[in-house]
């Protein structure tokens, strides 16, 4: 039995060498294949490729209010996004107008977005019941004047879809 055990141990010794070498070679195959294939490089050459640079879908660049082709957004001034925002970056300013049925109705006057305090957490987008918000992919936010970072998201002359109904 002692002999058998010794033989087993010797076999194990050589198996360990074989196992180690093959697993190391497997690792070298991975890095070696990356080395010979330059197209696997993921680094973006940013200032050179800014014309063709395409950001990925989930990238949170800057908040925007979705406008359709008739320049209409779907904000109904429920203020959920402003309340959900942890930094108070959103202010929804409304005005009252006379509706079709004669009752006064709140409609959006200014949707103010403070980019300078936004932390891009994205809580406002799923909070909206009307799916009126989304993040677009523009990330070049640098400006020389801080006041330029306070943006009005509803476009001039836009109207709300909620008003028509």
């Amino acid at each position: 039995m002692a002999l058998l055990k010794t033989i087993k141990e010797i076999g194990n010794y050589f198996y360990q060498i074989y196992d180690g070498v093959t697993s190391l070679l497997r690792g070298m195959k991975v890095t070696g294949s990356y080395f010979v294939r330059p197209r696997t490089i993921v680094t973006q050459q940013y200032p050179e490729n800014r014309d063709t640079l395409k950001m990925f879908d989930n990238f949170k660049g800057e908040l925007m209010l979705i406008h359709d082709e008739n320049n209409q957004h779907s904000c109904n001034v429920c203020n959920t996004c402003a309340r959900r925002c942890p930094n108070g970056s959103i202010e929804v300013i409304y005005k009252k107008v006379e509706g079709a049925d004669g009752r006064s109705k709140k409609i959006l006057d200014k949707y103010i977005y403070h980019l300078e305090t936004c932390s891009f957490c994205g809580l406002c987008v799923p909070a909206c019941d009307e799916f009126a918000l989304k993040f677009d992919q523009d990330f070049e936010h640098a400006v020389f004047d801080r006041s330029k970072l306070t943006k009005v998201l509803n476009k001039p002359g836009s109207s709300s879809k909620a008003l028509k109904e």
């Binding site: 060498i17 190391l24 690792g27 070298m28 991975v30 890095t31 070696g32 990356y34 080395f35 330059p38 696997t40 490089i41 993921v42 680094t43 050459q45």
Partner: protein, 358 residues
């Protein structure tokens, strides 16, 4: 063709005929020193650049590409930055030893370069015990590392230096035994004779499988001897910040950095000389045309091409394998490499005795 002996002879002849023997010797030594130092600095910088590029490609990155075309001047800019930086004096450090340590490390690797044959006749000294000399000199570097760790008065440095000492002393054995295999085949320790013995084929090919095993063992042990990854325990960033050179700044840090890369070059150059035929061109059997074409490529290119290949292998190791633990490191040496190496050496001695190699 492409023999540097006549060029060197004409220069020494001119010096001998113009100056007195003392001045001729001094001038030739100064010339040689300047050439070797320039070579050392430029090659060291571009090895750092090559490593950054190769590592980047293996990690799907671009590497340095802003300073100069393809980032070629990046490492030169880095060196200028390091030259301008302040040399911080460490309180309670042993200043004399602290300042002398980087020079010991760098002098050890500069001295080793003197014995490396770059081409026929392009070798500073052709000692009859060249291999022994290089082994002895390159293990001087560890003294510098130990001094650096001790003199820094920092726990990281001491632990790094101790690890480095344990590592270099154990792996020195494997390096020596792997080279001993080729010395047994070639029957000489002189670099020029070892290269001459490979005229009809490199030892890696005509030494059968034992030579291949010796080459692999040499590569592993050589990587460990230069303190490079996966054997970079001496400067393991995650545990010891930077190991033995934690407290060094500016150009003294650059000396350690440069010495590490030049030690890698020296290890690769010895591997080239011993296993891959040094500056000899690649010859295939009796294909006269092919061999003639290969002969036209200058030996310097052959030498640097083969060395670059070995360096590339070592960089490939570094950027693929995870770092070993200290007990794994020592068990790899004492339980695997050393027994394999000893058996290999006996096998090679037998093969040489029976003259079974080509």
């Amino acid at each position: 063709m492409y023999d540097f002996t006549s060029l060197i002879d004409s220069i020494t002849g001119y010096l001998d005929s113009t100056f007195s023997p003392f001045w001729a010797g001094t001038i030739s030594m100064v010339l040689l020193g300047v050439v070797i130092l320039l070579f050392y600095a430029v090659l060291g910088l571009y090895l750092v650049y090559a490593e950054r590029k190769i590592c980047a490609r293996m990690q799907n990155r671009m590497g340095p590409n802003r300073v100069g075309p393809m980032g070629l001047f990046q490492t030169i800019a880095d060196l200028i930055k390091l030259l301008l930086k302040e040399l911080i004096l460490i309180r309670n450090a042993d200043n004399f030893l602290f300042n002398i340590a980087p020079f010991i490390v760098i002098v050890a690797s500069i001295m080793a370069i003197g014995a490396i044959p770059f081409a026929k006749g392009l070798q500073a000294v052709d000692l009859n015990i060249g291999v022994l000399y290089i082994l002895a000199i390159s293990s001087m570097g560890v003294i510098g590392i130990l001094i650096a760790g001790w003199a820094s008065n920092s726990k990281y440095s001491v632990i790094g230096a101790m690890r480095s000492g344990a590592q270099v002393i154990s792996y020195e054995l494997s390096v020596g035994l792997a080279l001993l295999c080729i010395i047994t085949y070639a029957g000489s320790m002189q670099f020029s004779e070892i290269i001459a013995s490979q005229e009809d084929g490199w030892w890696l090919f005509k030494g059968h499988i034992p030579a291949v095993i010796a080459f692999v063992v040499y590569l592993i042990a050589g990587t460990a001897e230069t303190n490079r990854g996966p054997f970079d325990l001496a400067e393991a960033e995650s545990e010891l910040t930077a190991g033995f050179h934690t407290e060094y700044s500016g150009i003294k840090f650059a000396f350690f950095f440069l010495a590490e890369y030049m030690n890698m070059f020296i290890i690769a150059a010895i591997a080239t000389t011993m296993f891959l035929g040094g500056w000899l061109p690649f010859h295939l059997f009796q294909w006269q045309g092919f061999n003639r074409v290969m002969d036209f490529i200058p030996p310097v290119f052959w030498f640097f091409g083969k060395t670059a290949f070995v360096i590339y292998l070592m960089m490939w190791f570094k950027w693929t394998f995870p770092r070993l633990r200290i007990d794994q490191l020592l068990s790899l040496e004492w339980k695997y490499l050393l027994p394999i190496n000893l058996m290999n050496l006996i096998l090679i001695a037998f093969l040489t005795l029976m003259e079974w190699h080509f």
